[in-house]
């Protein structure tokens, strides 16, 4: 099982770049890395997905080093509305409960 480890919480200030790192030491060759964001009283929302190197979309960037044992979600210039729980998932191209293990996520609090 590709277990993931994330910090429980992080604080940041408006306008700063935030990097949240997820460790997945026993990631398998076919595993992809996916991040979701959950606001209070809402369901999680897909942010970004990647396999290696760097992926960028309009919301965030995902950095994955060559050994793929960790990944970093980068949120540029956060605002108060980015306060949420961020989940890192690791799974393969098959389909199993393994890749649907969200864990407890990282609570990001953006301060004014």
């Amino acid at each position: 099982l590709a277990k993931t480890t994330q910090p429980i919480s992080m604080d940041s200030y408006e306008g700063q770049e935030v990097n949240i790192t997820c460790s997945h030491n026993n990631i398998a060759t076919n595993d992809y890395i996916t991040w979701y964001q959950q606001f209070p009283s809402q369901g999680p929302r897909f942010i970004i997905q990647g396999y290696k190197t760097k992926v960028t979309n309009e919301v965030a960037s995902l950095f994955i080093p060559a050994d793929r044992k960790s990944s970093t979600l980068s949120l540029p210039r956060v605002s108060l509305s980015d306060t949420a729980v961020y989940y890192c998932l690791v799974g393969d191209m098959g389909f199993s409960a393994r890749q649907l293990t969200f864990g407890s996520g990282t609570q990001l609090t953006v301060l004014p």
């Binding site: 992809y32 996916t34 959950q38 009283s41 929302r45 897909f46 191209m93």
Partner: protein, 115 residues
């Protein structure tokens, strides 16, 4: 239009009662899920259906019974409710189960409180 909708949003009930939560998605997706989120924000898969067939059934008490009358609906019935069932239950859907299609869309959740 809400893509994945759950009803009710809040459910308060007594121990021992039977209750149901309904979920509907209008995205045309083939796969639907039920998750349970505890007070520590741990989000755990319970069930998944693909084209109305059960494909994931995690270690969940058999008091929980999902039913999928069609691809757009996945309901969750809970018998003999216990205090430990108190949690937020999320329904989700995805296009399919392969990597390119398994990005999930979640409902707003149903907060169940068992007294």
């Amino acid at each position: 239009d809400t893509a994945v909708s759950q009803t009710p949003k809040y459910l308060v009930t007594q121990m021992g009662n039977d209750k149901s939560i309904k979920c509907e998605q209008n995205l045309g997706h083939d796969t639907m899920y039920w998750y349970k989120q505890d007070s520590k924000k741990f989000l755990k898969i319970m069930f998944s259906y693909n084209n109305k067939e059960l494909i994931i059934n995690e270690t969940v008490p058999n008091r929980f019974s999902p039913k999928s009358p069609d691809k757009a609906h996945l309901n969750l019935h809970i018998n003999s409710l216990e205090l430990g069932d108190s949690a937020v239950y999320f329904c989700a859907s995805s296009q399919g189960t392969t990597l390119a299609k398994n990005i999930q869309y979640f409902g707003a959740g149903t907060r169940l409180s068992v007294l």
